[in-house]
Symmetry: C2
Subunit: 180 residues, 2 copies
């Protein structure tokens, strides 16, 4: 059987930015032909499903410029240089919601868009919450809405939650919480 892998022949950096870089690579395909691959280089991110003692999940509403819409999401953010993913999760939960958590569990690590980006996202379940101080980034404007986990699942089914990481994270958390 023919292999699946592709080999890099050349790499051209198109843009180096604040959130992402863009490169266009020339690659050899398994059949020997060459093609170009456009790659968005990203330093990785975290997302947090934070559930309080009454079974509510902390959702946020945030304007997402690329989509032109205000979206319902779980707290999330980019990993800083040399930051460990779980430290980033703790930091982002505090910055975006003002909550801390005494109990952290890693639930999943996945690629958000493996067709065109290397962004890897680490998803955590945070429980045993307490109120921390909230220090948002200069360019973040966020509303916080605790919602019963069951309602969040309904919001996924109805399409009201329309963000991939939030859908994956909430459904993964439901599996874990049902199992305990």
């Amino acid at each position: 059987m023919i292999g699946l892998e592709e080999k890099t022949v050349a790499s051209r950096t198109i843009y180096k930015g604040k959130v992402l870089d863009l490169k266009v690579d020339t690659v050899t395909l398994p059949n020997g032909k060459t093609t170009e691959r456009e790659v968005v280089v990203h330093r990785g991110a975290v997302a947090v499903v934070a559930v309080n003692e009454t079974g509510e999940i902390v959702l946020i509403k945030q304007f997402r410029y690329p989509t032109g819409k205000i979206l319902w999401e779980i707290p999330a953010g980019k990993i800083d240089a040399e930051e460990v993913p779980q430290d980033c999760a703790v930091r982002e939960l505090a910055e975006e919601t003002g909550f801390g958590a005494r109990k952290w569990q890693h639930m999943a690590t996945f690629y958000t868009t493996p067709g065109f980006s290397d962004e890897l996202m680490y998803v955590y379940l945070a429980r045993d919450l307490y109120t921390d101080k909230r220090e948002m980034d200069d360019d973040e404007f966020i509303e916080i809405h605790p919602v019963p986990l069951k309602n969040a699942t309904e919001m996924i089914k109805s399409g009201e939650i329309a963000d991939a990481k939030s859908i994956a994270g909430i459904l993964l958390a439901s599996l874990r919480i049902e199992a305990t």
Copy 2:
């Protein structure tokens, strides 16, 4: 309360590609300050959870150049110009797996990475499968593996499936299929 929306002041196209374009916009934030937003412009995509009569889901293994890895995924692909999402889902399922389906249900539409892209993904559940002809794109090399839906959920929990759309799609399909 302060609003959440951001207004475009200027837009600069950095790159126009095969899969994506990149633009960098200058925007006004709700507090009146300005910042830059890097936006990956994408024409949208579909993903398909195809389940056969024995309850197996059709998974694929595919080398994803941006990640440098062979990933387990559900069939998916970019929407062609002026193509309706469901037609794209039918086309991609046939191209990537050789299966057709008599029963189609739209399960969800979500943004894959709303922080830096406008890519919108339409996810379908395909049932009542039949064998169609398989005509892969020139640059696609794919292995097909039918896996019991229960095992696919285990592959998500274990981290073997590490792709956001596949995790969201399979868990959404599980909810639907359990409910029927």
